[in-house]
């Protein structure tokens, strides 16, 4: 199922995707991506750097965002560009939520640009793991 030009309007919010961060997933990500920084695998190392515990890779949160976009698009090949800024570290047991909204649609090139983000609810407030992200997608 591919997303069509007619399915997309400026301001449309894509379905959010939540994921609970687990040690198993983040360690598996470290192996699969090759980023073996102990900050992302070991609570003691993370604490000695001033964090409350193991920190998920920024790239893990970006991968989750790409996952959210791929599900919405129905075709991962339609994701043409993704740019993000990493803002806040996220920790095991927290729930990260990826989301986005359509900023503009180009009917001639059949492309849309989206503002995208990853948030985490933390002690009554919302923090951004990823802020000011931008995605460009192909539309059928």
């Amino acid at each position: 199922m591919t997303l069509h030009l007619g399915d997309v309007r400026v301001g449309y919010e894509i379905p959010a995707l939540a994921k609970v961060l687990t040690r198993e997933d983040v360690r598996a990500y470290a192996d699969a991506s090759g980023d073996q920084n102990p900050l992302h695998q070991d609570d003691e190392v993370a604490r000695s750097a001033g964090f409350p515990g193991m920190v998920a890779h920024g790239m893990f949160t970006m991968a989750h965002l790409a996952s959210c976009l791929a599900r919405w698009l129905g075709d991962p090949a339609a994701l043409r560009r993704l740019r993000v800024q990493f803002r806040a570290p996220v920790f095991m047991g927290e729930t990260i939520v990826a989301g986005g909204a359509v900023r503009s649609v180009d009917p001639v090139r059949r492309r849309a640009v989206l503002d995208v983000w990853v948030t985490v609810e933390r002690e009554g407030g919302t923090e951004h793991a990823i802020k000011r992200g931008e995605a460009e997608v192909d539309l059928a």
């Binding site: 001033g50 893990f60 989750h64 790409a66 090949a77 993704l82 740019r83 993000v84 933390r122 407030g125």
Partner: protein
Amino acid sequence: MRRTGLWYVRGTRMWGDRLGGDAMALNGAMEGKEYPALSFVVDEERVHRFATAVGDDGTFVPPTFVTAPEFAAGLTQVAADAELGLDLARVVHGEQGYDWSRPVRVGETLTVRSTIESIRAKGGMELLTLRTEMRGADDELVVVGRSTLIVRSRA
């Protein structure tokens, strides 16, 4: 509010206190340096592990799987480059971007080449931007990754 947020601030301050000083860590003359190209085989088992870790259903190669070849050709070589003087203990990942020309295919071999695109000073820190090009069998461009690392200044 935000106990963990405070922890982060405290962590940042701790680094600031410890590192102090204004000595710049990176060798700015390395701007433009190109690292040796690396061949990276898109292994099915590794793609599967990646997909499982990030929660994809395994029916496609996750778009950010390209982080694996990018990391192998980029940060791994950059961190080992004595001429550059990058200390990973002081690095935070600031920004990341990918421009895909087409999706990566399981089983294909990518030629991956990283270049130091820029080294800039900003507010007592340095920003190192690494550009990594990944090409397919016929030298066809598959994806370009751009990674900006924030480097805290040396004590």
